[in-house]
Every structure is written in structure tokens, then in C-alpha cells.
Symmetry: C2
Subunit: 411 residues, 2 copies
């Protein structure tokens, strides 16, 4: 293949703006939720663009949209590339959307310049990843890979009390039809914005993801005694706020000692009764811990919960923790990573191997077929916000890497 | 006077229940707010009881109710005794109410057993202390002592948007009439529940208050950067929750080192955006500090705010604090304290000199005339709650001490 690939930077920008118009918010963001009208318009407009690019198009039973470039070796499995069409509420223009546009432009380029590939390639606009409308994330990738059965959406309702089944059928999709799990996927390639600031801070343009982190989330509840802030001497207090502050301080302070790639976050805290002149009876806080090795997560949890227990005994207060999320880390395919890395090296693009701290469709595919995940930089690391931005040059560079990667795999 | 005073314990209990019926809540508590219908019924029913006890009764211009036992030495000033009739929302039966009932029963006893005193004594049912309906506390004692002018209630509204002036006029009180400040008060004696657990824990029945604490309240705001909990390495974080937890831990840990009678409370905390998977951009918390010596309060504040500043610089985050309350400590009158102490000693009642950590009408009177504040125990220290309770024997014992004290002062 040609070593230099020419793409029109402005054209890339126009494609991003075109897709961002479906669900554009007053803030300059995008709200495109599973099976809403903006989602429907976006998917059907994408279908039209795929048709115009000469791809054969179809929806599966849950609303994943595919644009297929049939390969000449008909017995070969399908290379799947894409990302998700849905957004968070008032999210950005790039999260998910970029991966779909990049894949569509890549297939269009390959078809125009190299014609029919040996292996079939499909671009996919996955119906759902964020879990923003219904309490179910990865519905698109999960349906294709068999993580979800069709019945898993039963009994779920959105904030306006519309059932998942009703939302599906209003899009002409039948929730009780056959499963959509596929058995013909060779590999999955996703390109996505980083949603963090590492590439920007390190002045690199492409991240080749080695692992998507495992995530554990806990709710920690500290129970003391509510008392008058003036009439209760310190020695008689069971101050849940004081103990909670000590536990949070300790937990976060341990992180960097244990592993430089470990992250832990207390993002949410709720005190009761939460008034200035009453000692808090109860303080509840969240704890989110992420790393790509179970052993590191184990070490951290073991250390801090032993401390929580010890402090609880010392203070004669109750400290309880409940784990409500346990997502295992997923490793991306070593061969695909190596191939992607060799391409960016050949292109002399500043790049790094990195861990994804956020969840992506590639982690669902990663337990099912060889998968790859590539990152382009996010300006200031901002994501899930109207301010989400990636420079056009970085967007273009990512598409060129994807074109080269798909060419190596399919031609 | 007789060394032994006989009071019917059951009768004391009946009086408490009688007053608690005005504004009784479903929970077994009391809600009696300034100028509401329950307040009106309670004040007018008390007026009737005062009349039945042979006291001459009157309301002042803000709704403080007085029952006067005229002394024989007409040029002498008036000894005032009582407490406040209003409650917090769903408060207890004893806070304020006990002081009024105790004073009324004391005057009734003195009049029946000893006739006309030398000095005039008035029992007062102060209209307001808690600040539960309008954002203005100590309206009753503040109006008598000249802390408040009549116009100070202008422009204040309750939660239902009823103006203070309208609430007053609906009780037949005119907010624009003359000031109610009095110049004839000799001293003020208040008996109140402790609202703390010190007397109970130390197995004592009467507390003779030496000081009512000074109170300083602050709002502390820590501003960091909101970022993705997964994609932001620890070294790039400006985690306002982590820093807030460190500041709270430090502040509370300093208290007992500085002074055993110092108390500090972080009762309220609010994080933003307050979701588990986002690093908190901003954490705001309250800080309530109390002690009876300005110097101790100064030392504490100086120490912790120096630390807050240092940590703010180290973390490159903004830490701001705003003081929104500065109530100076008030010392109770030494002679009255000594007299009260000698009485409880003579009666062989286990007692202690103590600091009041809560605010009381006696602190408003304390800057205006010699004042005394006596405490009876609160079961488990509970107050401002339907569970607020004091044992009948303790209630009775307090009334007897009050009778003896008033006898020594007025006869």
C-alpha cells in the first residue's frame, strides 16, 4: 500500500459536525440516547451514508447498524470495526461517534483505493454503550458477543418510565425475536478518544491500549451517633464524619505506594443529617478502584479494608462496605497490538502503550474475539461534556492508522 | 425557709404533658413555631394558668408573656425567671418548656407558702429563641434586652413566604409599635435541660453553668478539578475530596491537643458533582468551633487555617473559608452562681460547675444583667428530637433548687 495516505482534514471535521447535529444540545453538546428520535435519525442517516459509500447495510435485532464490504475469500470471518452511537446526557461530539466516522471513512478509503478486500470488513455503529437511558450498558457489543441475551432488557425502564421493550418496538425492533449473537467475527478494532489527559500531557498522538482496567466499586457506610455539636465533649463523640475523613485520607494515600497505575476515587459522599451544628450520625461514601491486574486490586482492597476494620474497632463505630461492581480487566490482543504499534512507529507518530481506565466496547469484544483499542488525545482530558474536543490533526492521524491496520488485516 | 420542699412528682409530669399538647406531633414530639396557632394557644393557655396562680399577666409588644408577683419594696427592680415557648420542628417536650413550667410552679409555691416577696418576681414565657421559623434567633430575650430593635424583623420571611410582620400582626401584635426593651430587670434566672450527656454520664443532677460558649462557624470550600475516575492517573489529579478529607481529619485531630473543653464539628459536607466515577471538582464543608475563651478559639483557628493554607499551596488547589457566625462567650454572674452552688450543696445534690455548649436566652440576658443558668440532665443527651427526655425526679429537683434560689433573692 501507499506509505502516504492523504485525507482532507476539513472533511474529517465536517463528518464529525454532521453526526453531532443529531441530538445537538443548546450547550454545544450532544444527547443521543438509545432508541430515542435523535438516535433513530443518526442511525438511519448513517445507513444512508454507508449505502452511498457502496457498503451493503443492515440492522440486527437490537439496532446495531452494519455496513459491509464483502471480501473475496468468502469463507473468511468478518473483521469488525466501529464504536457506539449513543452518548451520555449532554455529552460530547467525539465519544463513540469518532470511532464510527473513522471506521466508515477508513472503509470508504480502502474501497476506493484498493477495491475488494480478501477478508470481509464491516463498520458497525453499535446501538448502545453508555447506559445513559436504561440501567444496562454495552447493550450493542453485549448482544453481538452473547454477553446479553435478548431477555436481559426485560423489566427495565427509563427515567420517564418507558419500558426497554416499548422503546425497542417503537424503533421497529422486536425484543422477543431471535438472539443477535454472531459467530462470524474474526476480530474487533475500535478507535476512540482517550477521555483522559495522558497523551496530551506526554505530547503523544496515538495510544495503543494493552489492557482495559478492572473496576471495583464499593459503598462504605460509617455509622456513629448524632449529637449536639455544642453540648457533646470530644471524648463522648462517635463522629462519623471524622472517621469517614480518616478512612478516605488513608485509602487515597495508599494508592501511589501500591502501584503507579492504580487509581482510586471517592467521588460521592452523603452525610446525615448533614447540618452544621449536629454531629453526623452517618456518612456514606463511594470508592472506585481500577487497575489492570487483579492482584493489585486485591492488595489495595485487603490493605484498606483491614485498616477500616481496625479503625472501626478503635472508634467503636460501625463501618460497613458493600461491593456493587466487579468488572474484570481485559487484555487486548497481543498480535493486533504489535501490528498497530509497528504501523505508528513506521509513521513516526509519537505514541505510547497505555492502559484504558475507562470502559469501552472493546472490552466486551475482548473476551470473545481478538480485539484492539486505539486512542487519540482528548484536549485537557475532558469527556462526557460539551467541552469534549480532539484536534482535527489527531482525528485524521487516527483514521490513517486505522486504514493501514485494516489494510494489513484484510488485503 | 423550710429546708424540705415537697412537690408532687406526678403533678410536675402532668404540667409538662399539658404544655407539650400544644403543637404535639405524630412522632410524640412538639412543633411550636413563633406566632403560629400552637404558639398562640400555648401562650394564651399559659396566661390563664398564671392568672389562676394569682399572678398579674401581660404580653409585651413582641409576644413575650409575663406573670408578675408584685414585691412589697416597690422601688426594687424585677427578678425575671423563665425560658422560651417555641421549639424546633418536631422537637422535644422539655427544651424551653421546662424552664417556663419550673418558673411558674416556683412562683406558685413561693406565693402559697411565703406570700408577697420583697422584690417583684416575674415568670416569663419568652416568645422565641430557636430561630426555627424565621432566620432570627433570641427574638424574645433580644427584644427585652435591646439586642434587637423592632425593625430588625423587617424583610424576614418564613418557609411559606409569610412575612415576620404579617405573622406578628396575625397574633394582634404590631411590629411598628414602640420598643419593648426594659430597664427594670434586676437579674435573669433560667433553668433548662442540658441537651448533652455530661450530667447523666457523671451521675450528677444539677449543672451550675459558669459560661455559655462562644461559637464560630465557617464554610470551607475546596476547589480542585473534575476528571474521569478511570482515565486520570493519580499524579495528574486535583482531587478536592481527598484534600477535604485531609483537612477535616487534621482539624478534628487538633481539638483535644489544644484544650479539653474545646469542641469542633464538621456536620455538613457537599461534594460536586457527587458521583462515584468522577473526581470531585468541589467539596464544601461546615466547621463549627466552640469554647468559652476567645484565646482558645483563636489558637485553634490560627493553627488549622495555617495548615489549610499550606496544604492548599502543596496541592495547587484553592481552599477558601468564610466565617458566617461569631458569637462571643458569655460568663454567668459569679454571685448568682455561688448562691446556686451553695443551695445544691446544702441539698446534697450531686452537681457540677459546667460550660454550656449550646446557646440559651441566659446568654442574651448575661450581657445586660446578672444572669444564672442551671441545667438538669437530658437522658442520653438527646435534644431537638421527640426522644428528648428528662426523668421526673430530675425535673422536680430542678424546680426545688429554683424555688430556693428565688426565695433567697426575693424574700
Amino acid at each position: 500500500m501507499k506509505t502516504s495516505i492523504e485525507l482532507d482534514t476539513k472533511e474529517v471535521g465536517k463528518w464529525m459536525e454532521w453526526l453531532a447535529a443529531f441530538g445537538a444540545t443548546e450547550n454545544g453538546g450532544v444527547t443521543r440516547l438509545l432508541y430515542d428520535e435523535n438516535w433513530r435519525l443518526a442511525q438511519h442517516s448513517l445507513l444512508q451514508k454507508m449505502n452511498e459509500a457502496g457498503l451493503s447495510t443492515y440492522f440486527d435485532g437490537v439496532g446495531n447498524l452494519f455496513g459491509r464490504l464483502e471480501g473475496s475469500l468468502v469463507k473468511e470471518k468478518t473483521i469488525l470495526t466501529g464504536s457506539h452511537i449513543d452518548t451520555v446526557i449532554d455529552g460530547g461530539k467525539y465519544d463513540g461517534a469518532y470511532g464510527i466516522i473513522a471506521s466508515l471513512l477508513a472503509l470508504d478509503y480502502l474501497k476506493r483505493h484498493y477495491g475488494i478486500p480478501k477478508k470481509t470488513i464491516e463498520v458497525v455503529s453499535l446501538c448502545e454503550e453508555e447506559g445513559s437511558r436504561f440501567p444496562l450498558a454495552f447493550w450493542g457489543s453485549g448482544s453481538i458477543t452473547g454477553k446479553y441475551m435478548r431477555g436481559d432488557c426485560k423489566g427495565l425502564y427509563d427515567a420517564r418510565n418507558i419500558s426497554f421493550s416499548h422503546a425497542m418496538s417503537s424503533m421497529g425492533l422486536q425484543s422477543d425475536r431471535e438472539q443477535v449473537k454472531r459467530a462470524d467475527i474474526d476480530c474487533f478494532i475500535e478507535i476512540h478518544i482517550e477521555q483522559g489527559a495522558v497523551l496530551e500531557k506526554e505530547q503523544e498522538s496515538i495510544g495503543v491500549v494493552s489492557h482495559i482496567v478492572g473496576q471495583r466499586r464499593f459503598t462504605v457506610k460509617v455509622t456513629g451517633e448524632s449529637n449536639h455539636a455544642g453540648t457533646t465533649p470530644m471524648c463522648y463523640r462517635k463522629d462519623s464524619m471524622h472517621l469517614a475523613a480518616e478512612l478516605i485520607t488513608y485509602a487515597i494515600n495508599q494508592v501511589t505506594d501500591i502501584d503507579s497505575q492504580l487509581v482510586a476515587t471517592v467521588g460521592k459522599i452523603v452525610a446525615s443529617p448533614n447540618v452544621p451544628n449536629v454531629i453526623a450520625k452517618e456518612v456514606t461514601f463511594s470508592l472506585d478502584v481500577r487497575h489492570h491486574q487483579e492482584e493489585v486490586l486485591d492488595n489495595f482492597c485487603k490493605k484498606i479494608f483491614a485498616y477500616f476494620k481496625q479503625k472501626s474497632i478503635e472508634a467503636s463505630m460501625n463501618v460497613e462496605w458493600e461491593q456493587w461492581m466487579d468488572i474484570k480487566a481485559v487484555e487486548m490482543d497481543a498480535d493486533l497490538r504489535e501490528l498497530a504499534h509497528s504501523i505508528v512507529q513506521e509513521m513516526d507518530i509519537p505514541n505510547r502503550k497505555m492502559i484504558s481506565g475507562a470502559g469501552h466496547d472493546a472490552q466486551v469484544f475482548g473476551t470473545y474475539c481478538p480485539s484492539a483499542l486505539l486512542f487519540v488525545p482528548s484536549v485537557a482530558g475532558v469527556s462526557h461534556s460539551p467541552e469534549e474536543h480532539t484536534n482535527l490533526e489527531d482525528l485524521k492521524r487516527g483514521i490513517i492508522v486505522l486504514i493501514k491496520l485494516l489494510h494489513r488485516l484484510a488485503y
